[in-house]
Amino acid sequence: MNSILQLLTDNLDIIYLLVFTVFLGFEIISSIPTVLHTPLMSGSNAISGVVLIGAILLIRQTDPADYLTLSLAFLGIILGTINLVGGFAVTHRMLEMFNKKKK
């Protein structure tokens, strides 16, 4: 019990942030019109490519002779970047389509 309490108090900053962000997320998205469902999905999908940052941070601490780990992280970087760049590019294409007809 004590150790759980300890774990919670040690990470209180993160927990605060977590709870606020969840509410923020719900607030931002709650009134989204149907037209934007697909762009929102592919846009938010692109944002989840942010794991790329995690792969970069970890590969920088990896021993350059440790080829297995390097190749795993390398694959992580490639996949994360495809997710990120592909997601934003495809969302952009879609939204441009929505825009051009307003003219």
């Binding site: 150790s3 989204i32 790329l52």
Partner: protein, 459 residues
């Protein structure tokens, strides 16, 4: 240097929130997308420049990896057809999930497969969710692209297996975390377990529930990004991941509401293979030929199109736009009725119609559409099926009973464009086809509309 980078990361986080906020408003969506992209670009830059204890860095590998990923990402996003958007999003989502799982793996290797209980729970949870999102998204991709048929993946007792696997995975996670370290064998077993669960999770869920599954998997990848953020102590990842996670949950619940089903019944309900008491429908269907339909359309005052997944398959959206132009020049009012779960992902129809330059104000959502359809002369159903099935209102034994539908009972005349009498994705026969005011026009939707157009020009 460090302080500046910290501040930059803070700015990136604020930009990301602003971007997402703008993305949820039609007028500013495009700008919002760009802002979010800039925010993440900034985040990536900071993560490359941030001073670390070791000086290995491996910059060359990072740059090569990012370049390869960016090239593949840009090329594929330009090549993909708008009708293939659900497949594209699932595939990208799977990549994100795998990337998150790899982050966990690398963390474990870098830390000699051991750590404090709290850390290990987080890392293993991330590994699990990452692999589930990865394989789940790949299966969703297979189903959407038709490479995997629902009937290939019918698993008996899937609900029981699902729950058992989940319990086993959670127990293993807790056990390994408390013991403080993992052997390679344990790790492999755990990965296999995660992949298996990803398979069982998505495999039994049928095509009509696809919008729910895709947004749920999307949300899952967001959660893995957030956990990876906690692991590597990066606030931008945490923020981005949680925002994606919560927006994905909202979309998922919206889709569930549009089908009048609970999330649990989608995951465990086994929609496509459940045996509901299906009332058999008897009666004759009446056919109509393109020239009669053309005459009928030309003398109507209100025409409404009801698009569905079949329109995407037939790529009929541009031909429909032509029909709109011809009929509007004949003073026919022309609208589109969009059901929230029409198609295979949230908002699927809107994207396709936008691609064909169809104006946003001609699209009616469910409630507006039902008012409009009550006074419409001809409603043309283009490849939609379950969303216009009157069983949802009339037949309490039907699997889709209670789902809000587009009601065509008051419409003067209904024409269904359909390849054959095959039931829809949900596997349910549609009594609409046998109603007195319904006529069928068999054939490929695009070709049928082209025939109608030709007849209209001859009039």
């Amino acid at each position: 240097m460090e302080q500046i980078l910290d501040l930059l990361l803070f700015c990136a986080s604020i930009l990301l929130i602003i971007g997402l906020r703008k993305l949820s408003n039609p007028a500013s969506a495009s700008k919002g997308n760009l802002i979010a992209a800039v925010a993440l670009g900034l985040g990536v830059l900071v993560s490359i420049l941030y001073p670390v204890v070791t000086d290995d860095n491996n910059y060359l590998i990072i740059v090569i990896g990012i370049s390869i990923g960016a090239i593949i990402g840009i090329i594929s996003s330009h090549r993909v057809q708008m009708t293939k958007m659900p497949e594209m999003v699932s595939l990208l989502n799977g990549f994100g999930g795998l990337a998150a799982a790899l982050v966990s793996l690398v963390w474990l290797i870098n830390n000699d497969f051991s750590g404090e209980t709290g850390q290990l729970v987080i890392v293993l949870l991330n590994l699990f969710l990452g692999f589930v999102a990865f394989l789940g998204s790949l299966i969703a991709y297979g189903k959407l692209s038709g490479k995997i048929q629902d009937k290939h993946l019918r698993i008996s007792f899937s609900t029981l297996i699902n729950i058992t696997l989940l319990v086993v995975a959670i127990s293993a996670m807790i056990f390994f975390s408390i013991s403080g370290n993992l052997s390679i064998t344990h790790l492999c077993v755990f990965i296999a377990l995660s992949l298996l669960y990803g398979f069982i999770f998505v495999a039994p869920i049928g095509g009509a529930d696809m919008p729910v599954v895709i947004s749920l998997l999307n949300s899952l990848t967001g959660i893995t990004a957030a956990i990876s953020g906690i692991m590597t102590d990066n606030k931008l990842m945490l923020l981005g991941g949680v925002l994606v996670g919560s927006s994905g949950i909202i979309l998922t619940l919206l889709m569930c509401k549009a089908m009048n089903r609970s999330l649990l019944s989608v995951i465990f309900g086994n929609f496509s293979s459940s045996k509901g008491g299906e009332s058999s429908v008897d009666g004759d269907v009446k056919e109509i030929n393109p020239s009669d339909l053309a005459i009928q359309l030309a003398y109507s005052s209100r025409v409404c199109i009801i698009p569905g997944y079949g329109m995407a398959v037939a790529q009929a959206q541009k031909t429909i736009k032509d029909l709109e132009s011809v009929l509007e020049s004949n003073d026919v009012e022309f609208k589109y009725a969009i059901h929230p779960v029409a198609g295979r992902m949230p908002g699927h129809m809107n994207v396709l119609l936008a691609e064909a330059d169809i104006s946003y104000d001609k699209l009616l959502d469910l409630e507006e559409a039902n008012d409009y359809l009550a006074s419409t002369d001809v409603a043309i159903v283009v490849g939609a099926n379950d969303v216009v099935n009157p069983s949802a209102l009339e037949d309490p034994t039907s699997k889709i009973y209670g789902m809000p539908i587009l009601e065509l009972s008051k419409t003067k005349s209904v024409v269904v464009l359909k390849r054959s009498m095959k039931p829809g994705y949900a596997g349910i026969q549609n009594p609409l086809f046998f109603k007195d005011n319904t006529k069928m026009l068999f054939g490929d939707a695009k070709e049928s509309i082209e025939l109608i157009l030709r007849e209209l020009k001859d009039l």
